[in-house]
């Protein structure tokens, strides 16, 4: 992604509150922003006029902030980086998880935060307080390699995974493309 397209990333496309596609991550931290890049690509490819129910956005947020941005939607498609032990990780590997998976296995990069609580805890808290939380979660997590260096270019293995995740989401939800 070039500099211009990063700065153009301040978009928010709201038509009707039903389905939310949210790409998580930092778009200037090498692989960390893989979720944001997938969301940008989906926004380019999906025919939004054919999907008035759909909102596409991005955020580098976790925990409460993330939970708050999900409230009001029925279905959430969340794309995030997945940082595992480098010795056992294969960057570019795509995991398709449910919310229960997130609860039981390791959460993704942005679903936890040091200054916040985890997404699962935040959602549990919201539910306990009587908020309607989304009924359906589809989480795409991409194993990443470098999330400590500033760059807008992902590593090759992660870059290759981006069109694959995009295709998987388009297929899973039968989105009409432009």
């Amino acid at each position: 992604m070039n500099r211009e397209s990063f700065l153009g990333a301040g978009y928010l496309f709201i038509m009707d509150k039903k389905t939310l596609i949210i790409g998580l991550g930092n778009p200037i931290l090498t692989d960390d922003g893989v979720g944001v890049k997938v969301a940008l690509e989906l926004e380019k490819q999906i025919n939004l006029e054919a999907h008035p129910e759909l909102t596409i956005t991005e955020a580098s947020a976790g925990g409460l902030r993330l939970m708050e941005s999900l409230l009001g939607y029925e279905r959430v498609i969340l794309i995030d980086a997945f940082y595992l032990n480098p010795e056992s990780s294969t960057p570019g590997t795509i995991h398709h998880l449910s919310l229960d998976d997130l609860r039981s296995v390791s959460p993704t990069q942005h679903s936890t935060s040091a200054h916040d609580t985890s997404l699962v805890t935040a959602l549990d808290a919201a539910e306990k307080m009587g908020y309607q939380i989304p009924g359906e979660f589809s989480i795409y997590a991409v194993e990443v390699e470098n999330i400590l260096e500033f760059s807008e270019t992902p590593t090759p293995a992660v870059a290759k995974a981006i069109p694959i995740v995009v295709a998987q989401i388009l297929e899973e939800f039968s989105f009409t493309i432009r």
Partner: protein, 495 residues
Amino acid sequence: MERITIDPITRLEGHGKIEIFLNEEGDVKNAYLQIPELRGFEQFSIGRPAEEMPRITNRICGVCPEAHHMAATKALDALFDIDPAPVVKKLRELFYSAFYVTDHTVHFYALGGPDFVLGPDSNPAERNILGVIHKVGVDIGIQVIECRKRNHEVIKMLGGRGVHPVAGLPGGWSKSLTKEERDTILDFSQKNIDFALFSLKIFDDIVLANQAYVDLIVSDAFTHKTYYMGTVDDKNQINFYDGLIRVVGPEGKELVKYPSKDYAQHIAERVEPWSYLKFPYLKDVGWNGFVDGVDSGVYCATPLSRLNAADGMATPKAQEHYERFYETLGSQKTAGLYAPVHHRLATHWARLVELLYAAERMQELANDPEILDPNVRPIVTNTPTEGVGSVEAPRGTLTHHYKTDENGILTDVNLIVGTTNNNAPIAMSIKKAAEGLIKGGVVSEGLLNTIEMAFRNYDPCMSCATHSLPGQMPLEVQIKDAEGNLIGTQSQYID
């Protein structure tokens, strides 16, 4: 960036990892917290137009994008040598106050509060916002969420976006405020004041009414006598957005007060062979190691520090609570001024006093007729050269320093982020907590919880330190003997 040699034996790495080294007697010799450092920001920025920095730096971190946005915007004011109109300063401060309300709220209820509300000995799995709601009631949880929601609305209204704001311009702000928006903010600010008072009441009822907690707060294990830094206005009262940087000593005496552009004259960064982290210290005092006292250049920049570095609060209700804070914690008053409080756990209380100040300040600014002035976008005409901007981030003084060529293309970038100020004090607090619980090689119960409380009060920003680990900030403590052999590991929030 300076390249340093890391001794392969003492090299420490990891994410949110603490290493404790014991001496021959099995007592604590040193304790270190390791945080992964993000690299290459300077190279990333050089060659870009400086006016992009408010939108780029707010991406550095998902925790306090508003603070970076504001420090960057102020650095641009200095770079283009333009003094913003009063309305611009007020809109920025209004925006920034709303951010403070959300940020301090999440820390108290989701992070710091659980240690007290549920108790330091409670199960880590329950020591989170869910546990707090369970203990104090669903209504409080709803208040927390509603508080954050309305202030995020203000942030979006003023900053252009809900998470990563875009409104900061050199000398300006991209959007003025309508009367309707102002009325909404006025309504919200009263709700924020009520919420802050309510939060202070919770602190009273749960923490101050419990002698065991008060004893813990004032215990030696959580006490360090260091220098304190904070931004003050012309009356030496706290201001988060603008003012002079003031540093006071352990006895409360002013060491120095300077405009942020002079930061390099007063702050130096210590590099240690065992860490990639830098440890800022006061040049006027000098580096004397990780120790307390008037002869040690170690300083702290937190809510507690800001209270200590100021002579008071600029709003009436916050001032009342400021006085109560010092009176309750036994601070001596000399010539109308309170001596600093050194109890690190009191930072949680100080944070709530600041929450009240931010809410009151929001109301003051929204009530100011000048806030509706539509002239918020000046034309910049000066040739840029160099500029420094700083704000008080919730986690400490945040400084941005840019140099450019005559076309405004960045040639040099330096940032000192909030948490970095506290690297040395955090290391000292962790060591002290460990010293109390490890004697003669025997590790007592509760080591992890105590260490966690010791560093949590600084609200360290380590959002990058949470990879693939559940729950809150993962914590791993490794204990090594005098030869560097690993003799024990404890962890929580790690499966």
